[in-house]
Structure formats: structure tokens, C-alpha cells
Symmetry: C2
Amino acid sequence: MLVTSERPESAGDYTLGQIGEFGLINRVARNVRQGAAVLLGPGDDAALVSASDGRVVASTDLLVEGRHFRRDWSTAYQVGRKAAAQNLADIAAMGAVGTALLVGLAAPADLPLSWARDLSAGLADEAALVGASVAGGDTVSSPTLLIAVTALGDMHGLAPVTRAGARPGEVLAYAGELGWSACGLELLSRDVEGPKLAFARHRSPEPPYEQGPAAARGGATAMLDISDGLLADIGHIAEESVVAIDLDPTAFPIDPLLRETAAQLGVDVLDWVLTGGEDHALAACFPADLELPPGWRAVGRVSERSVDAAAPLVTVAGRPWGGSGGWDHFG
Amino acid sequence: MLVTSERPESAGDYTLGQIGEFGLINRVARNVRQGAAVLLGPGDDAALVSASDGRVVASTDLLVEGRHFRRDWSTAYQVGRKAAAQNLADIAAMGAVGTALLVGLAAPADLPLSWARDLSAGLADEAALVGASVAGGDTVSSPTLLIAVTALGDMHGLAPVTRAGARPGEVLAYAGELGWSACGLELLSRDVEGPKLAFARHRSPEPPYEQGPAAARGGATAMLDISDGLLADIGHIAEESVVAIDLDPTAFPIDPLLRETAAQLGVDVLDWVLTGGEDHALAACFPADLELPPGWRAVGRVSERSVDAAAPLVTVAGRPWGGSGGWDHFG
């Protein structure tokens, strides 16, 4: 075997500017193996995707370099996984299963082709976790590096679980991980060592995709993806459902390694758990008399909204969350 | 009536940075009246859109300021119409009818809120032409102003018309307008006066949306949206269908005003018609024995591809198009 054949598609020497739009589409997008739901993939005016349910779930997110990712903190592959994950988590949060991604890449002409290819590989690998694939996209020249991902999904006959269905007396539960992405961000920001898991989760979260449909089947009345922090996000449920939610800070299982890392950095670990974004766990409300689906943990209670308009919609042990310092007795 | 009530939602004094992401979503997206296909609109993790066909057509395009639009050449409303039009034309080019748009807006913090609102109005008005609406989106801060649009569509039981189905002996036809957008671009670039229609079409093309499904029902074997110029785009049909296409330059109806403007600028009007992009006309191939649907005009012929690999895939009167100068006898 010739040595050169070991990297037959090596692209380290090229930039997007040299390859051009059609070159990029041909080289990256069309070689992707498509999921079962993609009836027509990249290369035509539009993709054609199965929507067996007769309805399609769709969500769009933009990721901007410097704001949502840094090329010196994450590899292109990790950015691809994260970009796909945050969109597919939105699909799961409706109770649906992702079927396809459409990806727009706006990039400077000097972006290495290998970066775009690794990004595509990350997108494809994350999508494959739910049986989806990258069905189409667009590439343009731009001074700012930006990735626009649209995820499509299939409800498979289930009713969508919105943010507006929670009722007083219900249980607030979550599935997935909380706090690890915030821990990783803190470590990266301070440029210090720490648990590998924290770096890994910040760079590529692992949303509990299957828990979205499981919650929908299991009677969830309201659900969302936690992208801005548990407290902020369940605030949307409280707002849309016109209820209040109180969390029990002792109900969260805290990994000893996460707790230890927080202590070393002088951070209240509950701050990471309650306000850290980007873990893409799912939060949902369930009637109190239902058994929670496996993987879901009750951490709060839904109640009537106070007649006092100034009362907080979301509280922790009955009080507004004051951030680190106020909760040392739980640390 | 109080004078102030005439502009109850005036937003000229605010920028996106002052309003913030949730403010923008609440102010712009949620007030949009939704089309019949949108079952759940903005405000949740994802939108839910009817896909009665059991399949969904989906296409994504990015528009970058300075490259795809200029704020000093087009109003935000015009940019919105154009962004929606180019995506909905892609949907039409498959033979489908647009159902919903998802819109990502990446914008500097100093972008006036009124610009974002006018953009949304343009998107909504263009989408309404096919009964669609803006069902969801995302807003992020970015140094570069960029609009990411994903359009969804419904095939309504028709087979998708790809670029790969053309066969030798067929007719190449188009529907819509050709050359006006290029004329407008030329006038804007030279900063000279000209026909209003040219400026209008460059700022907001008017794709013949209904001609996509009409062509699919009428037996079209291959179809696409003309965004990069007729010659370049039918090159994709020739490539994907493994055929050659020859155009008859005398078959194009040329508006006298377009011809006159070209003459004044010293441009070959056929250059605008054959190579001008962004009119978003549709091109399609039809079996020669079929009557073309109303609104379609035959301008070329599909033939076997030459055994000579160097032979051009697309010719004009049997020869490669040489650009202006070579075709003065048709001017």
C-alpha cells in the first residue's frame, strides 16, 4: 500500500476560498451517508424528508464564533457535534425524534477545508445518534464564522409537548446532566486543569434525546430543553403555563467530582447545576400521580401563581435564587 | 385620537442590543399571523408544521450583508422579501408549495429594532404569497449582519422534480422573468437612473411560485430555480441528468425597455438574460410531445451528451456562450 493512500482525501492544504461553494458542497455534503428519513439529500434545490406523522417539527439555531464557540477551545468536530446537539435537543423537547439537519456555513475564505470537513463529520455523527443526517445546506463567504442549523423531526403520532401545559400540583423533573458544561466553561475561562468530563461536556453536550419522546409518552404536560440554565428555562414553563415552580435544592444528585471541582474553584456547585447553560438536559412537568419514566428525577413542584405580580415565578426552597454565597449550606 | 397612538409600536429609538433576544422574539416573531400549515408557531423549542403529504421539502440559504444585500441599496423590508423569495423559489423548483419559514438573524447589537421588524414584515409578506408564514427562528449577536432562512414545503402528493431527470429530445423551458435583476444590479453598481422595474426586481424578485407545482403536474422531468444565471443553472441539470442542452437565443422574449436600457449601458441584453442571477425564474425540461403548461416558454433542446469529454454541456445556438461582444447580432 502506498503511504499517500492512507489519507486519500487529505485537505489540509486547501481553504474554502480555493475550493469554492460548489467544490465544498460536492466534497463534504454529498458524501454523507443519509438517514432512513432522508428521501432526497444534498445536491438539488431542496431536500425531501419523510414526515410520516403528517406534521414536521422544525427548529433553527445560529452559532457565532467567539460567542457560541471558540476555535482555540473546541475542534471543528466538537463544534459540529454541539451545533447538531442543541438543535436536536429542541426537537426532543417537543417529544419528537430528529430526522434531518439543514446546515448553513458562513465562513471566511481562509477557513481550512479540513475545518469544514471536520465540522460536517461532527454534525453527521451527532445526527446519527437519533438516526438523522445532514440532508442539505448552503455555504457562503462571510467575515464572521457562523453555523446555522435547522433540525427537522417526526412526532410519530404523539401530541407535541409545549411549554404551556403545566398545572399546579404537578412535579417538575429533569433528565440528563446539569452543571458539567458550566464547569467546563469555568475551567476553560480560567485556563486551569480539571475533570476531563467537564471539558468534554462543554465542548459537546450529550442531550438525553430518547427522554423527549419517553416523557411525551409518559404523560409530560410541559417540556423544554435546558440551554440557558435550569432556573431561566423553567421560567419559560412558568410563564407560558401561568404557574409558579419551586425547586428542592436537596433533590439534585451532585457528582462528587463536580462538587470537588466547584469547591476548588470557590464556586457554589448549585450555581452550576441551577444556572449553567448548554448541558441540554430536558426539564418537564408530570402529573403527581404518574410514575416518572426511567431516567427522570423529580426536583420541584408546580403551584398556583401568586396573586402578587411581583412574586418570582421560579424559587429554590421557597426563595428567589441568590446565586453563589446564598447557598453555602447546601454546598 | 391621540397623535402618539398612530405609531403605537414605533421602535425607531431602540437597537437590538437594548431589547435583547427574548425581547426581539416577543416583539417581532410572535405577533406574526400564521399560515394554515403552521400548527405551532414561534415561542416554543420548535415549530410544528403540517406535512400532509407525509414528506416535507426543506431548503436553507444564508444572506450576508455586503455580499447578498446592501443596507444602502435595499430596505429591510426588501431584504426580507428577497430572503423569503429565494428560499420559497427553491421549494417551488421541487414542485412543492411553501408552508413555513424558519429565520435566523445574526446582527450587530446596534441594528435598529425597526430594521429587524421591517425585515420580518418583508419575510411575512413574501411567505404569505404562497400561504406560508414565519413559524420560528433565532436571534443572535454577531459582528456581521446575516440572515439564515429555511423554507419548508409540501409536495401534495406529487413526485419531486429533481435536476437529474432530463432526457435527450426534451424541451428546455422557463417560467418567470430573466435579466431584470441583473439590470438593476448594473444600474445600482454604476449609480445611474433606470427603469423602476429593474431596481424593484433586483431588490425583491418575484418568483413564479405557482409554476413549480404546475410544471410537476404538467410532466416536467427536471427543474430548478435560476439563482446564478440561466446558463450556469441549467448546467446543473445537464450535469445531473448526463445530457447536453442547447439554447436558442432568438426564443427569448426581450422586453423593449430592458433592451433599451442594456443598449444605453453598452451591455448585451442577452448577457443579462442568459447569465444574470437572482431573478428566481424556474427552468425545466419537458418531453417534446407534451404541451407546455401556460406561462412556460420553450427556449432550448436537450440532447445526448457528446462523447468528447471536453465538449460544453450548455451551448447557445450550438456554441459556448462567449459573453457580451460575441452576440451583438442578437442585440
